[in-house]
């Protein structure tokens, strides 16, 4: 017999499925929810339900959104002809933080990963190709991660995107700001040299 009542066991089991949550943390969270006000608990339940019911992918760029097209794709002040390609929706926030990119996005929802059986066919690129082929895009910025998988994805996309008049760029890789080049590893230094710019 379990040491907790059945609804408690169910909640703990559900929480345990979350990334980074072990049995102990799940128990702690479950008891926290039990002790919280009815209002807070209802709010949490509703938020969980809504995230599944109301969120979907933007049909234009695959960003997660509650309106389709998403806020970026429907913005009149953003440059709709400059598309930044990222691996995950969470990457958008990192780029938005700079407040210096005024283009729009395309989310791949992953990267080429042969060890996991993920090839180009599993990436969401068809709507990107459609935007490009419809003449809606002047520049595509490939902002996939500086990893083997991110590089393979960027190289593959740059091959697919070769069109007259379309500019395809890759974000620079190299030394983190505020660090010391003395501590940069060989490959980071090499990439920083490759990505140098004229002053």
């Amino acid at each position: 017999m379990s040491k907790f009542a059945e609804p408690m066991v169910r909640l703990i089991d559900s929480l345990k499925k979350l990334p980074g949550i072990g049995a102990k943390s799940a128990q702690r969270l479950a008891f926290h929810i039990l002790r919280s006000s009815d209002e807070d608990a209802e709010g949490l339940a509703a938020a969980v339900r809504d995230v599944k019911a109301k969120l979907r992918l933007c049909s234009n760029c695959n960003n997660i959104t509650d309106v389709d097209p998403c806020v970026y794709c429907s913005s009149a002040t953003r440059n709709q002809r400059m598309v930044c390609v990222v691996e995950e929706p969470t990457n958008i926030a990192a780029i938005e933080k700079t407040k210096h990119f005024n283009g729009v996005y395309h989310v791949l929802h992953g990267s080429i990963s042969p060890l996991h059986g993920v090839g180009p066919d599993q990436l969401r690129i068809s709507n990107l190709m459609r935007r490009v082929d419809d003449g809606q895009v002047d520049e595509v910025i490939l902002a996939t991660n500086p990893t083997i998988e991110g590089e393979a994805t960027a190289t593959y996309l740059s091959g697919q995107l070769r069109r007259a008049g379309l500019k395809v760029t890759r974000i620079a890789m190299g030394i983190p700001v505020g660090s010391d080049i003395e501590y940069a590893d060989e490959i980071t230094m090499l990439k920083a040299m490759e990505g140098r710019r004229e002053l």
Binding site: G20, P114, L115, I148, E151, T155, P176, A184, E186, I187
Partner: protein
């Protein structure tokens, strides 16, 4: 415990808890070693690009009392696959080398021949062509693991196969003559058997620079992959991915 130092090839990493990475290394000193790189996922400062698969590194690690996983202290990049453009076929081929090493090598068993083989094949994969290094690697790994049967005679009747047709089957170990072949066998050409014999006599560098289409040795690769998969009793993910690459 004392910090150990060894040349190593990074095979795979998996996220572990919030910020750590579980890293599988093929070390020259001790063979395959699995260790934890603390905070490697969150803070890239310490490991940088050193933990990308198939990076050749100098690794510093220590064993922990009564624990299977070592603690990975730091890695110094000696040669990174990111130094050369990573096209899709190359990415799949590199992943294939990593998967084979990871699946075939036992934990903590030195294998200097396999280490040298891996280094030379990874170097060979800097060029545009992937099929030659991949074929060479599969062939030698099968042999080094002791899984390669005699390619010169029929496993059933013992007749020499030189100059005559030869067949293989997913469920049997060796090659068969035309009289003994099983139903649904595949043929391995005489050319591919000669190729294998050449590859056993020369380093991988000797084959660089020759044009090598996907078709060449594809029957040999199929035979080798079937042999390896039968021994490890599972499908190799990257073998299927390689298969799908257009010539």
């Amino acid at each position: 415990m004392a910090l150990k130092e060894s040349e190593a090839i990074v095979l795979r990493t998996y996220p572990l808890r919030e910020a750590d990475l579980l890293v599988t290394l093929f070390t020259r000193a001790e063979g395959k070693v699995r260790g934890v790189a603390r905070s490697a996922k969150k803070s890239k400062r310490r490991f940088g690009g050193a933990l990308e698969p198939l990076t050749y590194v100098r690794a510093y690690y220590e064993d922990r009392e009564r624990q299977e996983l070592a603690r990975l202290d730091s890695c110094e990049v000696l040669e990174s696959p990111l130094a050369t453009e990573v096209g899709y076929p190359r990415a799949v081929a590199l992943a294939h080398v990593a998967e084979l090493l990871d699946e075939l090598l036992p934990d903590r068993e030195t294998n200097d021949a396999a280490f040298r083989l891996a280094l030379s094949v990874i170097a060979g994969l800097r060029g545009a062509d992937v099929w030659m290094p991949v074929t060479y690697f599969e062939l030698w790994m099968t042999r080094l693991m002791g899984y390669l049967p005699d390619l010169g005679e029929c496993m059933i009747c013992g007749r020499p196969l030189n100059g005559s047709r030869a067949f293989f089957h997913a469920l049997t170990d060796g090659l068969m003559c035309v009289d003994d072949k099983r139903l649904a066998s595949s043929e391995i050409s005489g050319d591919s058997r000669v190729l294998a014999a050449h590859m056993f006599r020369a380093p991988v560098e000797n084959f660089a620079g020759t044009r090598w289409p996907k078709k060449q040795g594809s029957d040999l690769r199929k035979f080798l992959i079937q042999t390896l998969q039968r021994h490890i009793e599972k499908k190799l993910v990257t073998a299927g991915m390689l298969e799908k690459i257009s010539a």
